[in-house]
């Protein structure tokens, strides 16, 4: 079987998409719950996920089968299809909050006056096209996004670094542990990267040491998020809880902006390309799961149906982002723990043939 995605591309995905998917509302929410100790909350979340990522990538070294094939080999075809159906639902759930966040973020950074919903709807034109693409496309998009990500992030960080006040983090660890860990649990629904890896399983050629590479890449993505959180909180301190769309705020006070205009917006526009690909990956994987579940091969049709459903959801729940975040953080985190953490670990118990 031709390998559709490479380990390098998976590493890029884990570095970039992990990072950019946590740049919009996540820092503000963490600041609210953990205050100056937000880095520890994030660290706790990332540490747990890194272990799962390592476990899944290590599982890849033990088998050359896909996750579907493993399920099929253990429980039979019908059960495998049902589980993939559940994963399809899970990926939709994963896509909802980023989608709603993107909608308001796009409105904030791209437009001054137009209604948020109408300006965001063209996104689904892109989503229909991209979601119908396979793993090869996901991998190559990650390749092409890497220079875009590096350039835009360097630009944003360079514009923000001089404004960071490190004493905003002092005194360290004075926030009650309950709040710090509570914040980790309440933001757990933003962590689903191990599931991506589970879906990529069997579609890439594992070589010795790849598990370490993949885990380190995830750690790299985590490090970027931590640096970003540090920059964000270091700049705003206690005011951070009032600053939504963190990524658009950290380069705001660059001294030269008065002279050169908000050129940081250009960097944000460039970074938005990576954000779009990061957001679409859940929809792409959902299409893959539905295709596996139903056996229906025409991904374009699935993609159209899926995006139509997302549009309807977006229209019906317009302006309900905070309510959705509350529901997701209070209830849906269980689903996230189950699908993104427990099932990937349980995948070790599946019957797997020895690697040839």
């Amino acid at each position: 079987m031709g390998m559709k995605i490479s380990v390098r591309q998976i590493c890029f995905i884990l570095i970039m998409y992990t990072a950019v998917s946590k740049f919009i509302v996540y820092p503000t929410v963490l600041s609210h719950y953990s205050g100056r100790d937000l880095l520890f909350s994030a660290l706790a979340d990332f540490a747990v996920q890194a272990v799962i990522v390592w476990a899944v990538s290590f599982l890849c070294s033990r088998t050359d089968k896909t996750f579907f094939a493993l399920l099929e080999g253990t429980f039979g075809n019908i059960t495998a299809r049902i589980i993939f159906g559940l994963f399809a639902l899970f990926f939709i759930v994963c896509a909802v909050i980023p989608l709603f966040e993107q909608k308001v973020y796009v409105h904030a950074i791209f437009y001054d006056a137009l209604p948020a919903l109408s300006v965001f709807l063209p996104f689904f034109g892109f989503a229909v096209y991209a979601a119908a693409k396979g793993f090869q496309n996901i991998g190559r998009c990650a390749d092409i996004c890497l220079p875009i990500f590096i350039v835009s992030m360097l630009f944003i960080f360079a514009m923000s670094i001089s404004e960071i006040k490190w004493d905003n983090f002092l005194p360290v660890l004075k926030t009650p542990a309950k709040n710090v860990l509570g914040a980790s649990v309440l933001t757990a629904f933003r962590f689903f990267e191990p599931c991506w890896l589970l879906m990529f399983m069997g579609h890439f050629k594992y070589k010795k040491g790849d598990a370490a590479k993949i885990t380190l890449s995830y750690a790299g993505g985590a490090l970027i998020v931590l640096l970003f959180l540090a920059a964000f909180y270091g700049m705003y301190g206690d005011m951070a809880v009032t600053r939504q769309f963190a990524v658009s705020k950290i380069s705001l006070f660059f001294p030269a902006i008065d002279l050169i205009g908000r050129i940081d917006l250009i960097a944000l526009y460039v970074l938005e390309i990576v954000m779009l690909f990061a957001m679409i990956i859940n929809v792409q994987l959902c299409v893959y799961c539905i295709s596996k579940c139903t056996g229906y091969k025409n991904k374009t049709v699935i993609s159209i149906a899926l995006n139509a459903a997302l549009i309807i959801m977006l229209i019906l729940l317009d302006n309900k982002l905070s309510a959705l975040i509350t529901i997701w953080s209070k209830w849906m985190w269980i689903a996230f723990v189950l699908f993104a953490n427990v099932i990937p670990l349980l995948a070790w118990t599946l019957r797997r043939r020895e690697k040839k």
Binding site: Y111, V119, F126, R140, I144, I260
Partner: protein, 478 residues
Amino acid sequence: MVTLEKNIKSVKDVLTSQDIIVFKFDSLNGRKFAVIYADGLADKQLLGELVVKPLKDAEKDAELGTVKKLLASPEIKDGTKISDAIKEISDGNAALFVDGEKDFIIIGLKNPPGRTVAEPPTQVVVKGPREGFTEDIKTNLGLVRKRLKSENLKVKMLKAGKKSETAVALVYIDGVCPDGLPERVEKQIEKNEIDIIPDSSYVAHFISKKPRSLFKRNGTSEKPDIFCAKICEGRVGLIVDGSPISLTVPYMITEDLQSGEDYYSLTYRATIVRILRVLSLLVGIFLPALYVSAQLFKIQIIPFQLLLKISSSVSGLPLSPSVEMFLTLFILEVLIEASIRMPNYVGLAMSVVGALVLGDTAVKAGIISTPAIIIVAFSAICLYTTPDLVETTTALRWIYLIVAGSIGPFGVVLLTAFILCYLVTEQSYGIPLMAPFAPLIKNDLYDSMVKANMYTLKNRPKVFKTKDRVRLKTQSGE
């Protein structure tokens, strides 16, 4: 016995045009001959020197074999069917008939009118070879052979066009070119039947698997040095008779960001110029769109002082920013088109009309603002830094402008993501268009945006998966 007249009649019955000349002559001993050729295509001087003059000594009863020996032409072959004679005459060669002989001799006298080898106007260099391809396939093949003397250089002659029967030379280096690639290209050409191939761009459509795409699938070059270099990397080249533009496949977009001169100048300079080209390309495509979307949707992008200038320029304009930009771009495209088509002697008047009447007066009249003209002019200059991509990039600039005017900056970002998503999986004969960036091929990056030293580029591009990978062997350590 077949008479000379009968043979001549057989040919003239088919080739009835008056420019098909029948030249009859006798040897000193009385043997009768007739040469039939197309006026203007065959070389009459050669005919006299290589055919008529030697045959003056022919004996009265000389047979076809003896006649053939007397001919001084290096390019002769026997002919038996009149249809072959007709084909060769149409192609520019001459058919020699001998009285009393059924068979005839084809003499290669083809010398169609054409220009001499000159520097191509589309690929001018300061440093490097200045020879360019002409419209004559033989000259072009000669220019290639002059540079590639390898025995492994293979040239396969094909015919394309039902009526034109245009010669197409498929050129590759055996052992370097991936297996099966020349056959695939050949098959792709043969699959298409068309009346006439006036230019290589027709063949470019045939060899493209997606001819309707905005993005081309083949490289082009007017210069034999670039053509040969591409062949040596493992590509297949196509030279089409009647066209000075050669084609190469597989194609990657990075090829068009490179210039032949990059390889003849300092690597640092080449790298800087390449980065400059990429930036120019991005500015050329995005600047008009960003300007319009900033004015319409997000004015904060523009620096305050500049904003004041712009607002003073655009105040009182009767047109919206997008319509204004659209109009300015339209004028620019018309000027470019007219300046290419117009005779040279109208050029000066054209410049005056374009620059002064349309530009200055339109601004003074308050129809178009100065920033719009500056942006459009700069965008046009930027796009011409990569002339091979101009067809695509100018179309993209229009599309981006429409999207920016209607959807705004988010539309511009979405369209970019869409194009990237489309391009990353597109291929030209199995080679990704976006290589070596997507998929990322580390070794090939040294000759993409950057131009590394020759010693770093010891191997041919990895993406082509050539059999013979090494292109530079050194005896020293370096």
